[in-house]
């Protein structure tokens, strides 16, 4: 009897101590973000589209080596999937997805809605994981109906890349507004710069156009993502600017410039100016090391804005070892893991407490503050099929801007219903 009382007492004491420790750690900021190394073990799988042989793959390997050192009892197996989306869906349907995996912000609303992802809120509370260091806009890209389903592993915003030799050739100044951009392009066109190309490369898709729409205070959806607001004067003006630049020959699409994407057209010097993310930097270094260029902030119109592309690490709802998965997730998106992952600047850190250690990224970092994630709502893949096809029709003169916006508005409202 006494022993039992004692045992109960001990348990109570342990609970009090634990609670106190919890409070202390919560207040003291030295949060135990993950279970202790000794507590979790097992085999877990990680899936992404980063291929093992690439520079990115080397960085991931390095990051995972860091994890293995810290948590020797957890064995992580990484698989690169290509094509990623199809493979992941097949694995989800077979109830055998990886424990931890990449989720593109654009796919996220659908994946969350279909119940493929594990909500992380209870883990955040249990392990006192601080989400404060993440850029709020990037973090919110992985929230669905108030719950968090992933942490951003990094991001890339759209900024403006300019070929410095071509800029010097026309004695031009770096444009900061739409009007400046048009003037500079006109000057280049008059001077025949670039030879056999066009001053600007614009991709005929909403994943670029939308940055200009945001700059003009337009949007596709209202703030609460309940209603389409694309059929508005602000959007019309932005589309007219974008398409007008193409149709007046001041800008060209990558196809008109004989390239697969604008980065390639820029590298081949068929365009002097383009609007891409920092993924263009390793591409240029590898493919076109002799082309001199610099990155500047996006040109602005009514306000500063841009699009950010981000990807999360998330946990599968059907994961069998969620404690280990959470440990891996918080390491990869934690300060240490992200520092390794972003050390070559292929992606920018989505945490404020991780410094960018490579040069030339200032413009991207400054634009990041006004970047909005490339993301809408569940069912928007179909809306984008319509939006992009209509945009090409507008560029060809087979559709009016108003006609396109009405179609997108209708498709978007259908998806929201």
């Amino acid at each position: 009897m006494r022993r039992r009382v004692m045992r109960v007492g001990l348990v109570c004491l342990a609970l009090i101590v634990a609670a106190a420790a919890g409070v202390a750690s919560h207040g003291g900021g030295k949060a135990a973000a993950a279970p202790k190394a000794a507590e979790v073990s097992g085999n877990i799988t990680l899936a992404g589209w980063t291929s093992g042989g690439s520079t990115e793959g080397q960085l991931l390997k390095q990051t995972l080596a860091g994890f293995a050192k810290k948590y020797p009892k957890i064995k992580v197996t990484y698989t690169a999937l290509d094509p990623y989306q199809q493979n992941m869906l097949a694995k989800f349907a077979a109830r055998k997805p990886a424990d931890v995996f990449y989720v593109d912000s654009n796919d996220f609303p659908d994946w969350a809605k279909q119940g493929l992802l594990e909500p992380l809120d209870s883990y955040i509370a249990k392990y006192h994981f601080s989400t404060k260091p993440f850029f709020p806009r990037l973090l919110s890209a992985f929230k669905y109906q108030g719950k968090t389903y992933g942490f951003p592993k990094g991001f890339s915003p759209l900024s403006m890349e300019i070929n410095t030799a071509m800029l010097a050739k026309v004695n031009g100044k770096v444009p900061t507004t739409w009007a400046d951009l048009r003037l500079l392009a006109q000057r280049m066109k008059a001077a025949g710069v670039p030879a056999g190309g066009r001053p600007i490369c614009f991709q005929p898709e909403w994943a670029r156009l939308l940055a200009f729409v945001y700059e003009n205070k337009g949007a596709l959806l209202n703030a609460s993502k309940t209603r389409a607001v694309v059929n508005s004067p602000a959007v019309r003006e932005a589309v007219n600017f974008y398409v007008g630049m193409i149709n007046s020959g001041l800008a060209g699409t990558q196809q008109q410039l004989g390239a697969g994407w604008c980065g390639e057209a820029f590298g081949k010097e068929k365009a002097a100016i383009t609007f891409e993310g920092n993924w263009i930097m390793p591409f240029m270094a590898e493919q076109f090391p002799n082309v001199k260029y610099r990155v500047y902030r996006m040109v602005r119109n009514k306000q500063r804005a841009t699009l950010s592309f981000t990807v999360s690490y998330s946990i599968a709802k059907s994961s069998k070892n969620k404690a280990a998965a959470w440990t891996l997730l918080t390491y990869l998106t934690g300060k240490q893991g992200m520092a390794t992952w972003t050390s070559k600047g292929l992606e920018l850190p989505s945490r404020k407490d991780v410094k960018v250690r490579v040069g030339g990224r200032t413009a991207y970092l400054r634009d990041a503050a006004v970047g909005r994630p490339w993301q809408f709502a569940p069912g928007f893949s179909k809306v984008m099929t319509v939006a992009n096809n209509e945009l090409t029709a507008v560029i060809e003169g087979k559709q009016t801007v108003n006609g396109m916006l009405a179609k997108i508005q209708e498709a978007a409202n259908d998806a929201l219903r």
């Binding site: 279909q114 119940g115 699409t253 008109q256 004989g258 099929t385 992009n388 087979k398 559709q399």
Partner: protein, 301 residues
Amino acid sequence: MAVAAGTRRQAKTLGGAKLREALVGYAFVILPLGFFFLFFIFPIVYAFYISRYEWGVLGKIESVGFQNYRDLYHDDLFRKALHNTLVYTAVVVPGQMALGLLAAVVVNQKIRGRPFFRAAFYFPSLASSAAITAIFIYLLNADGLVNKLLDRHQPFFADSDTALPSIMGLNVWTTSGTIMLFYLAALQSIPTDVYEAAAIDAAGPWRTFRKITFPLLKPAHFFVAVVSIIGCLKVFDQNYIVSGGTGGPNYSTLSVVLYMYRTAISDLEWGYAATIGVVLFLVIFVFTLVQRLLFGRAEVS
């Protein structure tokens, strides 16, 4: 009694022999038949079952009856996809058959280097469609070889007027090799005495072809037309690669299968995608049936 018993026994053994023969027969086909049911019949039936639900990655969401079919009937994108697919089929099937027949007739002549030409004409059918499409993307690029030759600057795959015709041309060329093989086999099965008789009647080569070769190839025409139409209605990979999966520009390369793929993989609407699959199955089935009726009757007469 005894007689009755005897006949019964006889009947039994006779039945037994028949039964045994039947069993042996089934034993031979059971494996292929099993695979056929598992991988063809069952998925078709199951796709129909799925098409009556709102179906997500993890399975059933809710039963919607025939709502998916009603939605499909009013779906603008599906209409565009169906239109593109039918136009594509209407152009590519005759094109393929004509080119295939021409190639077959050519390599059936006693000309020098015949094995080389046979191999050369068949080669595009052997190469992967993805690889050939990738090569054509370069050839038809705004700065590509074709534009250099034409002294123009036309991005063929990025213009909605030329994107689908370019794919048509590409496919007529790549698939004509297979069709040539079918025709070649049929050409060689035409008995030579028919030609000899024609020669005696002083029929020229064109007349011989028109009056003898072409009509005698009727079974081959039927077979090739069926295979070719089915292939065309299922067109996907070239459109997918050329448009980056979007079906653009201006929906011009959106085919039924590409739309089905997008509905399943990008939109995650698996019930609706199954509906598209069922409707496509019915379209192909009806086409084949109509052809069978037309050509089948002709064959008998």
